[in-house]
């Protein structure tokens, strides 16, 4: 229970630290500017400002080559305090004045402490009381909303925190790499393996160094915190778009409770990795963009009106920055944050912006809109790319995964054409090909299309001949009658053909969407719904001046893009990203889209009622019914999977050792999983190096480890490395170590040295080495920790006379 409780505590610590840095601190600094805004807007703005500030402060200190805790504190606090003083100047000045006056009076003997306290205390008391009252009052006034949101977030904390709390290991191998990069940042090296979007790493580095939380703890627990933000962004965007107050919560529900999505579409949220972290900024882009359009329209209208009245100066004087410009700035920041954290999110953000732009056509082409957006786009890209370009110019190359990402994007079409060629023979009848190994569905109908084209051409030639024959020797009135008849027939046939084509199109997409959703019916529903929503919204855009339907249209288009993202293979379109990644974004877009559908229906249905509080019964009822149905039909999302990468006992030992032993005084002998976790705290010797050294034992073989304490991590059930299993079950392992395993020849180096089979052999050898060594040093070589799967031995060495660990253990 020790690690479980500790994990929960660390999770709370990380949540408080991150929450303070990106919510509370920005709110304090920008209090004067934010105090009148809505809570949802405050939340989004603070999150964006806070993260932007943290990420760029870290970039600045690294690019100036002055990384360190002191500089981090200085560069963080000084601008923040100056900003706070400047932004809140009247209030701060007043407080300072009261403070100095009171103390002057105290020292001059004009007043007593009591009266000074009476003068000074009311302000903080008022602030605290006001804040608490504000929080409670807001909570009680919106208790139903809060209750529903907290319940959904609570479920997600359970869902995504389950692995973190019960297994307390790194969930995916990527984290080790990111951990290493953050560790190198601690050494003063940013972009260790080359230029890479380091925004996420900067945040982890900041939390570690500024708040004093261990990197390993942040990596283990931050996933739950970032997940809360990712989920809340869905709600906040929907709050902006939807007319109903409760439909955004229903939207959140769609991404929380029902088992709609393929498990791979949501599993990554349980891990602390850059792509998922960057998703926090995706919807703020749309939020700001939509806000920009609304504000800009209002501004133009007011400007026109005031111009007419010749009072424009009064309005211009009111703002240094116009509200629309502010929205654009926040759009720039959000967009730049996506780019600063992960390129894939930027791609999705581009789709999102494109969707909004299409929806706002032709307004978007108006020079006053277009120029602003163009400048904002340029600035956002510049802001995000500047640190990376600076590093690149300073001589740091690009990181390998960037080449991989670009290759996978460019090679997507190549792979497709390759697939097409290979599948032609198999799919001559247009049979859908399902690859179980890859888990994706690929359709190739190029041949069928060609045949269809030929048939169409023949048919066209034949109908032309037939038409000429038909009009031959006919009077004008007869010709007109025949023409009308033909026209009717043509319209009907075109409509029929269009319907058929649409059905075929939908069918293709449905097949692809099976990679994203669990149910085919749901796939079908989604594609039909998006078409309906797009068509209806487009229609209503033409009749309504408000931006509501444009926003609906934007979401429909965005969702359509996301659907196409996973369906490019079916339409011979260039692949932007692989389906495995694409489905994460399609899944993430789904709740927004579903909520928009509901809200659209709500808007239409409740139009006569003018959307007052009673009409909210409808979405509440829908939400309650859906929840009820989900639970009663046992359709609640089951817990996700976990990868076998590291034994839980190993993580527990890492923590205990780091807590209990002085830095640099201990060494761990294990596989590679713990290397980065214990970085700078202790030393590490790889298992294959350790056993390899005594592989061919002679009298001269000496193997010493120069540290006082040495720990040996042995997996009694070696992990089936990289395989996955249910998170509720034990990690996937191979059999219990055995003499048969120990007898086999092992590889002591190379890429797959810790892969399943070799790992089994190595761990078996290691176990029997430990047994023999224990007979030689029964008192000294002790079991430090043991559970069903894992055992850790400890030996305390005389540093002046080290043990020779090279022994004959019968399986050398």
């Amino acid at each position: 229970m020790y690690m479980e409780i500790r994990t929960v505590i660390e999770m709370i610590q990380v949540a408080i630290a991150y929450g303070f840095c990106v919510l509370i601190a920005p709110y304090i600094v920008f209090h004067a500017r934010l105090k009148d805004k809505k809570l949802s807007e405050k939340f989004i703005l603070c999150t964006v400002i806070g993260n932007f500030y943290i990420i760029n402060i870290v970039f600045v200190i690294f690019l100036l080559h002055i990384p360190g805790r002191l500089t981090l504190y200085l560069f963080t606090l000084v601008p923040a305090v100056i900003g706070w003083l400047k932004i809140n100047r009247p209030a701060v000045r007043q407080a300072f004045k009261t403070f100095t006056t009171s103390f002057t009076r105290l020292f001059l003997g004009e007043a007593q402490i009591k009266s000074i306290a009476a003068a000074l205390l009311p302000t903080p008391r008022r602030i605290i009381r006001g804040t608490l009252r504000g929080i409670f009052s807001h909570f009680f006034h919106h208790i139903l909303e809060w209750g529903m949101i907290l319940a959904l977030i609570g479920f997600n904390i359970y869902y995504y925190g389950y692995e973190t709390v019960t297994k307390y290991i790194y969930g995916t191998s990527d984290i080790i790499v990111h951990n290493m990069w953050v560790n190198r940042m601690d050494d003063g090296i940013i972009f260790y393996k080359g230029v890479y979007p380091f925004g996420f790493h900067n945040v982890i580095y900041f939390l570690h160094n500024f708040c004093g939380i261990r990197t390993i703890s942040v990596f283990r627990t931050f996933s739950v915190v970032q997940m809360i933000f990712i989920y809340l962004m869905i709600y906040l965007l929907l709050r902006r778009i939807c007319r109903s107050r409760f439909i955004p919560i229903v939207g959140l529900f769609f991404f929380t409770l029902p088992d709609l999505y393929d498990f791979q579409g949501t599993m990554r949220y349980q891990w602390c990795i850059p792509q998922e972290f960057a998703m926090v900024y995706l919807y703020p882009c749309a939020y700001s963009m939509i806000q920009f359009f609304q504000r800009k329209r209002d501004e133009i209208a007011i400007e026109k009106k005031l111009k007419k009245e010749d009072k424009l100066y009064t309005w211009l004087d009111l703002y240094h920055l116009r509200p629309s410009t502010r929205s654009l700035i926040f759009f720039s920041i959000s967009f730049s944050l996506t780019l600063a954290c992960h390129f894939y999110i930027t791609i999705i953000a581009v789709f999102l912006c494109l969707a909004v732009a299409i929806a706002y056509f032709p307004i978007v082409l108006h020079y006053r809109y277009f120029c602003s957006i163009a400048v904002a786009g340029f600035l956002s890209i510049f802001t995000a790319v500047a640190p990376m370009v600076t590093a690149y110019l300073q001589g740091t190359g690009l990181e390998g995964s960037l080449y991989w990402a670009m290759n996978s994007m460019s090679s997507g079409s190549e792979e497709e054409s390759k697939d097409t060629v290979t599948s032609q023979a198999a799919n001559e009848e247009g049979v859908v090909n399902y690859s179980e190994e890859e888990g994706f569905i690929v359709i190739d109908e190029t041949l069928i299309d060609k045949e269809k084209k030929d048939a169409k051409k023949d048919q066209k030639d034949r109908s032309e001949l037939f038409r000429r024959e038909k009009y031959k020797d006919k009077t004008t009135s007869e010709k007109v009658r025949i023409f009308i008849g033909d026209l009717k027939q043509t319209v009907v046939s075109v409509a029929k053909t269009a319907r058929k084509d649409l059905e075929a199109f939908n069918q293709k997409i449905v097949v692809c969407l099976k990679n994203v959703y669990n149910q085919e019916e749901f796939c079908r529903f989604c594609i039909t719904a998006v078409e309906i929503l797009a068509a209806a919204a487009l229609l209503l855009v033409l009749f309504r001046r408000g931006f509501y339907f444009r926003n609906q249209l934007a979401i429909a288009i965005f969702f359509f893009f996301m659907v196409m993202l996973v369906s490019t293979g079916s339409f011979s379109l260039p692949s932007v990203m692989d389906v495995a990644r694409g489905r994460i974004f399609t899944s993430y877009a789904t709740p927004v889209f579903l909520a928009c559908i509901l809200d659209f229906a709500y808007t239409i249905l409740c139009l006569p009622f003018h959307y007052f509080w009673l009409t909210e019964i409808l979405p509440i009822g829908v939400g309650v019914c859906l929840t009820f149905l989900t639970i009663t039909n046992n359709y609640v999302r089951p817990l996700n999977i976990v990868y076998s990468l590291q034994a839980s006992g190993e993580m527990l030992c890492n923590y205990q050792i780091m807590d209990s032993y002085p830095d640099q005084k201990w060494t761990i002998v294990s596989t590679t999983n713990s290397i980065e976790l214990i970085d700078k705290r202790g030393w590490h010797m790889e298992l294959c190096t350790f056993l390899g050294n005594m592989h061919k034992l002679t009298d001269k073989t000496t193997l010493t480890i120069p540290s006082k304490y040495v720990f040996f991590y042995i997996e009694k059930y070696p992990l089936d490395y990289g395989s996955s299993g249910k998170v509720t079950e034990d990690l996937k392992t191979t059999d219990y170590i055995s003499t048969d395993g120990a007898k086999k020849d092992a590889a002591y180096g190379g890429g797959g040295v810790y892969s399943t089979e070799n790992r089994y052999i190595l761990e078996s050898k290691f176990f029997y080495w430990a047994k023999v060594f224990q007979t030689k040093y029964p008192q000294e070589f002790q079991v430090y920790y043991e559970d069903e799967f894992f055992i850790c031995y400890r030996i305390i060495q005389n540093e002046y006379h080290l043990y020779n660990f090279a022994i004959d253990y019968n399986y050398n």
């Binding site: 032993y661 000294e780 002790q782 430090y784 006379h801 043990y803």
Partner: protein, 599 residues
């Protein structure tokens, strides 16, 4: 300004009250002083020789747990016997390994093989057989190099990989942490020729030699000549000693530490007494005035009162040691002019009472052997007359021959009749550290000269602290009162004394009691009398003590564990994994827990 009558009366009464209060304590102390009264201790002493577990009792030819292989005159074997006596281990002595082979005990756990006892391959085979049977082996002196070279089997048994050299000049030794109490120590002045061997993996080295040429020849620490090491052979551990530690009581601690390393835990009784004995001090006469005036500008009497006493008390109070003075009434018994001074008696006995010290009697004198009888008779007549109610319970004969004082000890009507404790100087190495002199009198050996601290003395002291938790620092003031060279100057000696007590005993004070000689005597009697049995149940170590008297002390050696609580006693931590446990009940339960971090 005038003072009213009533004010005058009040001021006068106040001043009188203050005067009375200040003087009262001194005056009352003088009237109530018992400085010259000391009842005989032997009436209260309960444990006598008949109550203790003797060597003879522990010698059990058929059920021994320790076999000692050595000749009858072997000092190493005697040390092993003494060690068994203190640990209450049953033992049997054998003159050869063959003899041992003929008389095996099924309870045997330990085989101590002394010098020159491995003479043939057959002996080696016997040792191998013992190792197979799970009997741990301690070879107190490494066999000769020719013997080693000629027997690969013996090399294998001892874990020797290679014999580098038959004789190598060492520059000192390093005793590693966790072996003897006191932690890691480098002794740089231990120069000796020893065989240089290299050890196999699977060995653990406790002491290594230092080599002058280590840096030059780039010899790794692990390849330095081993002095004491352990090798796991078959089912037991074989310990080998490549030094002459077993020539004296240094062997006791070595044996304890080696044997402790074969057990999961090791709990054994100790004396738990740290004493400082001032031989020939207080000094009650005023002899050798000319010499002393030349050196100190003081007479002997003044020197003792005005220089030595303040220095001694301040040094002892700084270190928390208790004062045990062995009074020398006179040192020149041919000189009839300088008699025992009443003012000296008055001064020292009262000062002693004030610091709650103890006064015994010294047997030293500076003249020929024929004067020992004169001394004893003089002391009996003069001192006894001056201190009729004072019983001297402690006698330190110094250089007085045993046959002289033996006839007086316990004999009625003389000064030594009440003696319960004999303090012998360290030179008496052929005697046990603590034992019974006769039926009632305990004899205890001083363990170190307080004005000296060489490497040999340090390792000897550490060994005794490890084995017995015992030290008796011996300060002979005769060399100050009768100086022979500059080294006997008190200014130098007092500095040495202060620094030695401050430095070398600092660690032991944490866990062991600081006692007067009589208090140490009590602890020794309890130590010699008790027997014990301990066993472990998971994290609880149970100890049952028989012949238990009020309290008993033990040392508990653990490996990476710590004591959490003790029921039926108390405990103090000596150092990592080492605890001094004091039992206040005959049944004791020690709860231990593993240490997950660094202590």
């Amino acid at each position: 300004m005038t003072i009213s009558r009533s004010n005058f009366i009040v001021i006068s009464i106040t001043m009188a009250a203050i005067l009375f209060l200040f003087q009262f304590s001194n005056i009352s102390a003088r009237f109530t002083s018992d400085a010259t009264i000391n009842p005989p201790r032997k009436e209260t002493v309960q444990t006598t020789r008949s109550d203790v577990i003797k060597e003879e009792t522990l010698r059990q030819p058929n059920t021994y747990t320790t076999a000692i292989i050595g000749t009858e005159k072997s000092v190493e074997a005697s040390m092993a016997v003494e060690w068994c006596t203190y640990l209450k281990r049953s033992y049997e002595r054998f003159l050869s390994l063959e003899q041992y082979d003929d008389n095996n005990s099924q309870y045997n756990q330990l085989l101590i093989v002394t010098k020159n006892m491995i003479n043939s391959e057959k002996d080696v085979k016997l040792l191998q057989q013992a190792a197979k049977e799970g009997i741990h082996i301690i070879i107190t002196t490494l066999p000769s190099i020719s013997r080693l070279r000629s027997s690969p089997r013996l090399q294998k048994l001892l874990g020797i990989k290679k014999i580098e050299s038959g004789s190598w000049n060492t520059n000192g030794i390093t005793v590693f942490d966790g072996f003897l109490l006191g932690g890691k120590t480098n002794y740089t002045k231990f120069k000796k020729l020893i065989p240089y061997v290299r050890l196999k993996s699977g060995t653990k080295t406790y002491i290594t030699a230092q080599l002058k040429e280590q840096g030059q020849k780039k010899i790794k620490n692990e390849d330095l000549p081993p002095v004491i090491w352990r090798y796991q052979y078959e089912n037991s551990f074989v310990f080998a000693v490549n030094w002459d530690f077993f020539k004296d009581h240094t062997a006791l601690g070595m044996l304890t530490s080696m044997y402790a390393d074969t057990e999961e835990y090791f709990l054994y009784p100790v004396i738990n007494a740290q004493s400082v004995i001032c031989q020939n001090y207080p000094y009650l006469s005023n002899e050798n005035e000319t010499d002393l005036r030349k050196n100190y500008y003081y007479s002997a009497s003044s020197l003792c009162k005005n220089v030595l006493w303040p220095d001694i008390t301040s040094i002892l109070s700084a270190t928390g040691e208790k004062f045990s003075g062995m009074t020398a009434p006179k040192l020149e018994y041919s000189d009839s002019n300088n008699l025992v001074r009443n003012d000296s008696i008055d001064y020292f006995f009262k000062q002693n009472e004030r610091i709650q010290g103890e006064l015994g009697l010294s047997g030293d004198q500076v003249e020929s052997d024929s004067f020992y009888d004169v001394k004893l008779k003089y002391d009996n007549n003069v001192v006894k007359a001056k201190l009729p109610d004072y019983s001297f319970n402690v006698f330190s004969p110094g250089n007085m021959p045993e046959d002289v004082y033996r006839q007086y000890l316990g004999a009625e009507g003389n000064m030594l009749s009440d003696v319960c404790t004999l303090v012998l100087p360290k030179e008496a190495y052929n005697k046990p550290i603590v034992s019974f002199f006769d039926k009632n009198i305990v004899q205890m050996l001083a363990t170190i000269d307080g004005f000296s601290h060489t490497s040999e003395e340090d390792i000897y002291q550490k060994s005794l602290e490890t084995a017995l938790g015992y030290s008796a620092v011996y300060l002979d003031f005769k060399r100050i009162l009768y100086p022979t060279d500059k080294k006997d100057d008190w200014t130098q000696l007092s500095k040495k004394l202060a620094s030695y007590l401050n430095t070398y005993w600092r660690e032991y004070r944490k866990g062991f009691q600081q006692t007067t000689v009589s208090e140490a005597d009590e602890n020794i009697r309890r130590f010699l009398a008790l027997n014990y049995y301990s066993y472990r149940q998971e994290d609880n170590i149970n100890l049952t003590i028989t012949n238990f008297d009020t309290e008993a002390s033990f040392i508990l050696m653990l490996t990476n564990e710590e004591i959490v609580s003790v029921s039926g006693g108390t405990f103090k931590k000596l150092e990592k994994d080492r605890y001094c446990v004091t039992a206040t009940d005959s049944n004791l339960v020690i709860h231990v827990d593993s240490v997950t971090g660094v202590e």
